[in-house]
């Protein structure tokens, strides 16, 4: 089973990479980008075949390692 995880910065947490993207895009003449935010996208290839078990285990991975819940949110999709 495959897990697709999005890790994004919480609202209110300043995003230097996002800011830099906004800046660069506007320097390059792309107008109309009001905001850019950069997060991570992690794909895991799992041996687990049971959906519920996989979900629980990936959730734990996120809480314990993949996201820093002080500043980040995460979301999980299984496929």
């Amino acid at each position: 089973m495959k897990a697709r995880i999005h890790v994004t910065l919480k609202n209110g947490v300043l995003d230097p990479q996002g800011k830099a993207i906004e800046h660069a895009l506007s320097n390059m003449g792309f107008d109309g980008v009001n905001e850019a935010r950069q997060g991570k996208f992690i794909e895991l290839e799992l041996s687990e075949t049971d959906r519920a078990k996989a979900e629980a285990s990936v959730d734990e991975m996120c809480r314990k390692l993949l996201a820093n819940t002080v500043i980040e949110n995460y979301s999980i999709e299984l496929e």
Binding site: G12, L66, N68
Partner: protein, 220 residues
């Protein structure tokens, strides 16, 4: 004073830290590998700079979950002076021993240079050999030193004297120019600048020595 330097895969200032500790305290520190569960009793624990686990995922994230950090957390909670420089600071925030997080530098560039710091609290375990407001020169070398915490936390840190050092001018976008913070109890310090790189004139100055001497003063 007997110290331990914790070594993670990818640490690269571990030797620098050990050399500085030996030069200043006169005692060779214990080098502790990240897979250890336990190590000899020491008076001082140092988490060195570097790129543990390549700084992959988030700086310090993987090291913070290593075996040895469980023991370090326990000892820090028991009051053992614990000090993290650069990657060590990042590890300390990732474990929750220190509040906040270290984000990518605002200009996205790695920065290595001498910077001027102001000593914000000169009464602490780590800063008592300095004077309050004193300006000191210490180098930085980091890509992710942009300190972030929410306003409430920042107010508390400033109010309680938990901010040890600030940058005299903006270096990396850190909130309120914070360069180093302590925990509430005052026995854990994390800072981005490298005091161990400023311990003799041949390296450009000695302002870093007093950080270590402060701890020696306190431990007697």
């Amino acid at each position: 004073m007997k110290s331990a330097v914790i070594v993670f895969p990818g640490s690269n200032c571990d030797r620098d830290m050990a050399v500085a500790l030996e030069k200043i305290t006169g005692t060779k520190p214990l080098m502790v590998w990240h897979q250890e569960y336990d190590f000899d009793k020491v008076d001082f624990i140092a988490l060195p700079g570097g790129f543990s686990y390549g700084d992959y995922l988030r700086c310090g994230a993987m090291s913070a979950r290593s075996h040895v950090m469980k023991e370090v957390i326990k000892r820090a909670e028991d009051g053992v002076p614990t000090f993290g420089v650069c990657n060590g600071f990042q590890i300390l925030t990732e474990t929750g021993l220190l509040p906040g997080a270290l984000m990518r530098n605002a200009n996205l560039h790695f920065v290595c240079k001498d910077v001027t710091l102001t000593v914000e609290n000169a009464d602490s375990m780590f800063t008592n050999a300095y004077d309050k407001g004193q300006e000191i020169t210490i180098p930085v070398a980091h890509h992710d030193g942009n300190y972030f915490a929410d306003d409430e936390t920042l107010n508390r840190l400033e109010g309680e004297g938990q901010v040890a050092f600030k940058y005299a001018s903006d270096i990396n976008g850190a909130q309120r120019r914070i360069a180093g913070v302590m925990n509430a109890r005052g026995n854990v310090l994390g800072m981005m600048p490298h005091p161990e790189r400023m311990i003799e004139p041949a390296l450009g100055g000695s302002d870093g020595r007093k950080m270590f001497e402060s701890v020696m003063n306190r431990l007697g």
